[in-house]
């Protein structure tokens, strides 16, 4: 019986080894090498260069803004969703956009935000001249948040659904007003979902590079842009890998800092 279970594990392990572990090893090796052999110079270059540090900060800042915006929209949405009738149907509507290719959605926004686009024609009705919307920071954050939204709503929705409605009733029976019930009961109990959502949104947002080009017009520069340049334009693979390794470390830090508190919360379950 045990042997058969191991056989089922083989494809999974092979997949992980080939497509997760091998690439990580490869870029780590590249990061510590130049044409002469082993070196740490790539890292010292990274950490002494103002441009790279600024780029790292930029990546963090934009990822933070995107995550904050999605959270702000997602939590109320997830809450309302969990109190609605045809939940499966509404859920489907939220998942639906993820079936459409990311590029296609980005191109759609180019049409919407353009000078002759939907938003500007609408503004034109009120006599507001064509505004610059495309290629602004706001447009970039908006589109990124739109794309990440389902990945935030779903875990929060699941977490809220897991909260026994009786617990909320008990809170109000015991004299808590709505805000207090939310703050003291619902929020702590659904926090694991929020943390999962933050992880699912923040980490990919750190290295978004296609949107920075298509919607941000390369006026928003993140580490993803630099990686693309080092690999594709200058073919300086060791520096590109170095940025990649730094990015992986940043992601690990984010993972640890969110998941350690999440696992503590997980035990907080109220049964009545």
């Amino acid at each position: 019986m045990k042997k058969r279970k191991l056989i089922f594990l083989v494809p999974y392990l092979a997949w992980i080894a080939l497509f997760v572990i091998m690439p990580i090893i490869l870029i780590t090796v590249y990061a510590f090498r130049d044409e002469h052999g082993f070196t740490l110079s790539n890292f010292s270059q990274f950490f002494t260069n103002g441009t790279f540090l600024r780029m790292t900060l930029n990546s963090f800042w934009y990822a933070f803004l995107i995550t904050a915006l999605t959270l702000l929209i997602s939590y109320p949405t997830a809450y309302i969703l969990s109190r609605m009738k045809n939940q499966q149907f509404w859920l489907l509507l939220i998942i639906l956009p993820t079936w459409i290719n990311l590029l296609l959605k980005a191109y759609a926004f180019i049409g919407i935000f353009g000078k002759g686009g939907l938003v500007n024609s609408f503004l034109g009705l009120f006599g507001i001249g064509p505004a610059n919307i495309l290629f602004t920071n706001a447009a970039f954050i908006f589109v990124a948040a739109y794309i990440e939204l389902p990945f935030m709503i779903l875990p929060i929705y699941n977490a809220i659904c897991d909260v026994d409605p009786a617990v909320m009733q008990a809170a109000s029976d015991l004299g808590a007003n709505k805000w207090q019930a939310f703050k003291r009961v619902l929020w702590p109990l659904s926090k694991s979902g929020v943390q999962a959502g933050i992880e699912a949104v923040f980490i990919p947002s750190l290295s978004l590079f296609m949107l920075t080009r298509l919607i941000g017009g390369n006026r928003v520069i993140t580490l993803g842009t630099a990686i693309e340049e080092y690999f594709m334009t200058t073919m300086n693979w060791s520096m590109g890998s170095t940025i990649g390794v730094v990015l992986i470390f940043l992601m690990i830090i984010v993972m640890i800092s969110t998941s350690s508190s999440a696992s503590r919360r997980k035990k907080r379950e109220v049964k009545l």
Partner: protein, 357 residues
């Protein structure tokens, strides 16, 4: 569960069937023996009718594959496992490929139609003796502007881009050599300079352009200019030709103080399996009528003098796309500066993208 298995099986069967059918169709058109010619070219960079004509005339079967950047092409050919007989890299990439020993020598004596190529397009720095490459198309870097937003004739020089009234209205092509190059040219410096001080100055000057820049993009630039999204775009002549054809408000200017002159060239990679067919193809493409037909389809400038004469008058006499000998004196071909300097250009450009706004 049973339904799922049936569904998956039927999909697999359909895929298998289609695959077999495709193979059979391919096999039919290319009968036995080495009658295949594999061309590796930029997307939409040849008149498809010419491929048909070539196949009919010579009996070779053409397999046409495309790439979207010199670097991608270089990596693919370098890694091997490909059998490309013909490739079309740009100038600086040719010296790079030559140094990496990826190119086959071309004997121009075996190409009778080679004589039609103008002497001013031969012996350029990337291939001084034309041993490895045959010019395919050439062009310049310049400014496209929209006369809806910009008074006609008010843009003549690179420095005009810095004017305050174009705030947030300029689209730049996402290429370090070209944008750093335009700044260098505007200061009267060489676009191939290796002088770090001059490069720094050029970058500082570019920072002043930052507020005017709306976006730094690549292929989409064409679409935006056609849709009147921005007043000014900096791009290559071939792209400009397409824009001008779709929007009559657009004009193309090559600043006289200096700009880039680029070449795309036919080469035979070391991986070639059918050199005979490659030679036949090169000769076929250099035949003046074919070259003219191709130039009319693509819109880029042909180095084939005889073909130029066959082009319609309004194309031939367009000074912006076929500049006079005098104007061409100030155009500079990019040299391969080596990885260190290329990195320096790109790093400065990245810095400009980050801070200059």
């Amino acid at each position: 569960m049973k339904k799922l298995v049936i569904a998956i099986c039927s999909i697999l069967v359909v895929c298998l069937g289609l695959g077999l059918a495709a193979q059979k169709l391919e096999g039919n058109s290319s009968s036995s023996g080495n009658k295949n010619l594999i061309i590796y070219n930029w997307g939409d960079y040849i008149d498809p009718k010419l491929i048909k004509k070539f196949e009919k005339q010579t009996g070779y079967h053409v397999i046409y594959e495309t790439f979207d950047s010199n670097e991608a092409m270089y990596t693919k050919i370098k890694q091997g496992g490909t059998g490309y007989d013909i490739a079309v890299p740009s100038d600086y990439m040719i010296s790079k490929m030559r140094k990496a020993n990826l190119l086959e020598k071309i004997n121009t004596k075996k190409i009778p139609n080679f004589k039609y190529i103008g002497s001013q397009f031969l012996g350029k720095s990337f291939d001084p003796k034309n041993e490895y490459s045959i010019p395919y198309f050439w062009g310049t870097l310049g400014i496209v502007y929209n006369d809806k937003y910009v008074k006609q004739g008010s843009i003549k020089h690179w420095d005009d881009l810095w004017k305050k009234n174009y705030r947030h209205n300029i689209l730049l092509v996402d290429s370090a050599r070209d944008i750093m190059g335009l700044s260098l040219a505007s200061m009267g410096a060489s676009m191939n300079t290796k002088d770090s001080l001059k490069l720094k100055m050029a970058k500082t000057k570019l920072d002043g352009l930052g507020p005017n820049v709306k976006a730094i993009i690549s292929d989409e630039l064409k679409m935006y200019m056609i849709q009147n999204e921005a007043a000014i775009g900096v791009t290559w002549s071939g792209e400009a030709r397409t824009m001008l054809d779709s929007n009559s408000h657009l004009h193309y200017v090559v600043p006289p103080e200096g700009s880039n002159l680029w070449f795309d060239n036919i080469v035979i990679p070391k991986t070639a399996k059918n050199k005979k067919a490659a030679y036949a193809f090169i000769n076929f493409m250099l035949e003046p009528h074919n070259a003219a037909q191709n130039a009319e389809y693509i819109g880029y400038a042909t180095p084939n003098i005889k073909a130029q004469a066959l082009l319609p008058k309004e194309i031939r006499d367009d000074k912006q796309f076929y500049p006079s000998q005098q104007a061409m004196k100030n155009l500079q071909v990019y040299q391969d500066l080596g990885p260190k300097k290329v990195q320096e250009y790109n790093d400065l450009f990245l810095e400009f993208k980050m801070y200059g706004r």
